[in-house]
């Protein structure tokens, strides 16, 4: 089936969102709209899951139903939970060559550039379409080293003991309302295990695509980086533009063991009708490093605060967050660092831009528990506000229970400097080009941390967001 004609896409986009196309639905299974114990049990049954997982899901559903919607953060009152499709299975089998996919789905991935990226610079790729990972591939060399990179459902099937040991331990099923929802209806996502001492040089990438209207996508990711190992995991996501809303609510749990390092990079580019309510948390043991690089450009409302629990001595955590809130968008993003062990260190750097009536909020937590002697942390939030209709907020919570620590927080809000603009324009740049260049410079401390290909992508997305804006 051919994708929607280009003209229709452009009409729906407004701000040049080039991923707004959709395929016709040709699915193996689509649940009824709405959520119930029957829907949850049906998902588990269809996946042929062990009994403990079915029970886990049903209990999680109870927690979800019992919890009120959070009253802080963004406006969640418009989410119609009864109108969402909680599970859609697009294909019968998972493919490990792109050619094995149905033509329209393959076409989607081609347009998103995933197969090309895989050839060029990725060590492994998972591609999730609606509720299921339809394509998965890991370089054979890594497989032979004992690296596991599968979709979460296959992970549960093939490595049940390992999954059972960690699943839901970093983010308990009743952690918050949306973690409970994910725990009830999760499908897809990645399961990664990196054996001791194995360093995966090229990134592993997962790509998440919502296609259907009113879709709810609930991927679940679990990453275990064993002692002295390293992995860089990258995720991207897009969706078609519809007039009604979709919901994306993921749970990501990461364990970084002694001396290990994990970097998790997100380039979130959902269409502006997607609620993006995600819980991400990592634990870092002795001398381990956990880094979240979190870019939020898309979605209607994002509420996401990647967290790091520094559990072992000298563990280090880093959160780099970029948020761009354009017309109709609220990016409520940030990061959390919880210092539990001595001599742990963390840095949270947030750069946000609001434009055209958009609202960017930094919300963070820095906590130092009793006993985390010698902990050091620095939180820096800078916000750029591009016009008088836009809004920016900073809510950095700091709670310190240990006296021998060094904690600093700084935040600034400013507009684009007129001198900078004037200087660039005197060099022959248009005002819009100059403004875009200043914004690129503003986020550079974060984009420079990205692999080249993603840095280029991120800059391109920012340029797109800046189009039509005047400083």
């Amino acid at each position: 089936m051919a994708a929607t004609p280009e003209t229709e896409i452009v009409a729906g986009i407004g701000n040049d969102y080039k991923y707004g196309f959709h395929d016709e639905e040709n699915y193996v299974f689509k649940s009824e709209r709405g959520l119930s114990a029957e829907v949850v049990a049906a998902i588990s049954e269809r996946k042929n899951e062990p009994d403990w997982m079915r029970k886990f899901r049903l209990k999680s559903l109870e927690y979800f139903m019992a919890r009120p919607l959070p009253e802080w953060g963004g406006d969640l009152s418009q989410i119609d939970f009864d109108n969402i499709y909680y599970y859609i299975k697009p294909t019968e089998e998972q493919a490990n060559t792109w050619e094995d996919l149905p033509a329209d789905i393959k076409n989607t991935w081609d347009r998103l550039g995933i197969p090309e990226a895989e050839r060029k610079f990725l060590a492994g790729v998972g591609a999730q379409y609606e509720s299921e990972v339809v394509y998965h591939k890991l370089q054979e060399k890594l497989e032979s080293q004992g690296v596991i990179f599968k979709d979460m459902d296959s992970g549960l099937r093939d490595h049940e003991e390992l999954v059972k040991q960690y699943f839901g331990t970093i983010i308990p099923q009743n952690d918050n309302k949306f973690a409970a929802l994910n725990s009830a209806v999760w499908s897809g996502g990645s399961f990664i295990y990196v054996p001791p001492g194995v360093s995966i040089e090229m990134p592993l990438q997962a790509y998440f695509r919502i296609n259907a209207e009113n879709m709810g996508q609930f991927e679940r990711t679990l990453i275990i980086v064993d002692e002295g190992a390293y992995v860089h995991y990258v995720e991207g996501c897009t969706a078609p533009i519809y007039t009604t809303d979709s919901l994306h609510s993921a749970v990501v749990e990461i364990i970084v063991k002694e001396g290990g390092r994990c970097r998790y990079t997100t380039i979130q580019n959902w269409s502006t009708n997607v609620y993006n309510l995600v819980t991400k948390r990592a634990v870092a043991y002795k001398d381990a490093t956990m880094e979240w690089v979190d870019g939020n450009l898309g979605s209607k409302l994002t509420m996401k605060y990647p967290a790091i629990w520094l559990l072992g001595e000298r563990a280090h955590g880093e959160v780099l967050s970029i948020a761009f809130a354009n017309k109709g968008q609220h990016q409520d993003a940030g990061g959390k660092a919880v210092h539990v062990a001595p001599k742990t260190t963390s840095t949270i750097t947030s750069k946000s831009i609001s434009k055209n009536g958009g609202r960017a909020s930094y919300r963070g937590l820095l906590e130092v528990a009793k006993g985390a002697e010698g902990a050091k942390s620095k939180v820096v939030c800078d916000a750029l506000i591009l016009d008088e209709d836009s809004r920016t907020d900073t809510y950095p919570y700091i709670s310190i229970d240990e006296n021998n620590v060094d904690i600093g927080h700084e935040a600034t809000v400013s507009k684009i400097g007129e001198e900078q603009l004037f200087y660039l324009m005197s060099r022959g740049l248009s005002e819009a080009e100059a403004a875009a260049m200043i914004v690129s410079g503003f986020v550079e401390p974060i984009t420079k941390e990205l692999p080249l290909e993603y840095a280029v992508e991120m800059n391109r997305l920012i340029q797109l967001q800046m189009e039509g804006s005047v400083g």
Partner: protein
């Protein structure tokens, strides 16, 4: 009217730690209704006069206790008298919050300070608020109206008659700083460590007016001090300097709000505190810039020096910005006494106590330097130093 306010007070639940602003201030064990309001304690005589930490040459002097307000001196041409009904009363601090409602319902002895247009007072106006009854509740209400182009200082000092006096202090002050006026407002809180203290201070600063505020927190058991400045007129400026020191089991809570309503306004809040023993402090600060408040320049800072293992500080700065042509900055730090500095001083034969004193003094220097009234600066400096035990 008072009975309606009392109803309102009763209808509002006592805040609990599930209410966000009260998350770090647990009022468990506190029941405001067990304190005897405004004196009238049968068979009890007041505990005597409360001491002052200030040595001031004042233009006006008033003393307030649960039993009443006494005006001992007032300058010519200025209103400095017991507060009665006033059109501006309650317009800045209403009754929508439990403790403000309690005050609105029960205050009896308040003070009105109204300085006419263009009047400049050299010497400060001073009021002492003294909790004097065991288990008494003192509801203090201050209304300051600075008419355009006036200039003066108001100093209020909270104290207890005895260091072990148990009490409840509930204060509301409203300040109107008229066009082009300049007001210095000093609020020193040195209540006994057995006193619950809840205060709501709010000022409205009009066009080209200037407010310079000093908040000193040394006493009290637990409670909350709310400080709000509305930058309501173009060109308005406010500066709030806070210094606090808590020890023993004290818990201090500052909740500050910088509300920029008009364009070209400036606010500058700097709070520094030192904590020792089991003392805890929480500081919340919010800068809000409304849509029309272009060219706002807002600054907010909270730094805590932790002097013992068990002391604890929470610092919650925040920004909500709806205008784009602004400059807003905040900073917060929490740190222990720098061991290198301590070592350096001790290696030069300075005792540990003296070295610590030097470090604390150094820590507070910049906030103390912001205090313009010299006797106030000296009193705050002394109060801070008195808290560090001799070696």
């Amino acid at each position: 009217m008072r009975s309606e306010l009392l109803e309102r007070y009763r209808a509002l639940p006592l805040p609990s730690t599930t209410d966000e602003p009260w998350r770090f201030t647990d009022l468990k064990g506190f029941d405001p209704d067990t304190f005897v309001s405004n004196g009238h304690v049968r068979g009890q005589t007041p505990a005597g006069a409360a001491g002052s930490m200030l040595d001031l040459d004042v233009a006006a002097l008033a003393t307030v206790t649960e039993d009443g307000i006494e005006i001992e001196r007032a300058p010519e041409g200025v209103t400095f008298e017991p507060l009665r009904d006033h059109e501006m009363l309650g317009t800045l601090v209403g009754a929508d919050e439990k403790f403000a409602a309690h005050n609105a319902a029960l205050w009896e002895h308040g003070l009105l300070v109204q300085v006419p247009k263009g009047v400049v007072l050299e010497k400060p106006l001073y009021v002492r608020i003294a909790n004097s009854h065991d288990d008494g509740a003192l509801f203090w209400r201050l209304l300051v109206v600075a008419e355009p182009e006036s200039r003066f200082s108001v100093v209020e000092e909270y104290a207890s008659a005895r260091p072990d006096l148990a009490g409840y202090s509930n204060a509301v002050s409203e300040l109107f700083v008229g066009q082009g006026a300049k007001v210095e407002y000093v609020s020193l809180q040195n209540l006994s460590a057995e006193t619950w203290h809840f205060a709501s201070h709010r000022a409205r600063v009009d066009r080209d007016a200037e407010l310079d505020w000093v908040a000193g927190g040394f006493g009290s058991k637990k409670g909350k001090t709310r400080i709000q400045n509305d930058l309501a007129g173009a060109g308005a400026t406010s500066r709030v300097t806070g210094a606090y020191f808590a020890d023993g089991e004290q818990h201090l809570d500052y909740d500050t709000f910088q509300e920029h309503i008009a364009p070209n306004t400036t606010s500058d809040f700097a709070f520094k505190g030192a904590l020792r023993d089991h003392a805890t402090a929480v500081w919340r600060g919010m800068i809000k810039v409304e849509k029309d408040a272009q060219k706002t320049n807002a600054y907010q800072e909270n730094r805590n020096l932790i002097l013992s293992e068990q002391a604890h500080a929470d610092s919650i700065p925040g920004l909500e910005i709806e205008a784009n042509d602004v400059r807003c900055t905040h900073g917060a730090t929490i740190s222990p006494v720098n061991r290198d500095e301590l070592f350096y001083a001790m290696a030069r034969g300075i005792s540990r106590g003296e070295a610590e004193r030097l470090i604390v003094r150094g820590f507070f220097t910049d906030v103390l330097n912001r205090i313009e009234l010299e006797p106030v600066r000296e009193a705050v400096t002394e109060a801070l130093e008195a808290r560090i035990p001799q070696a």
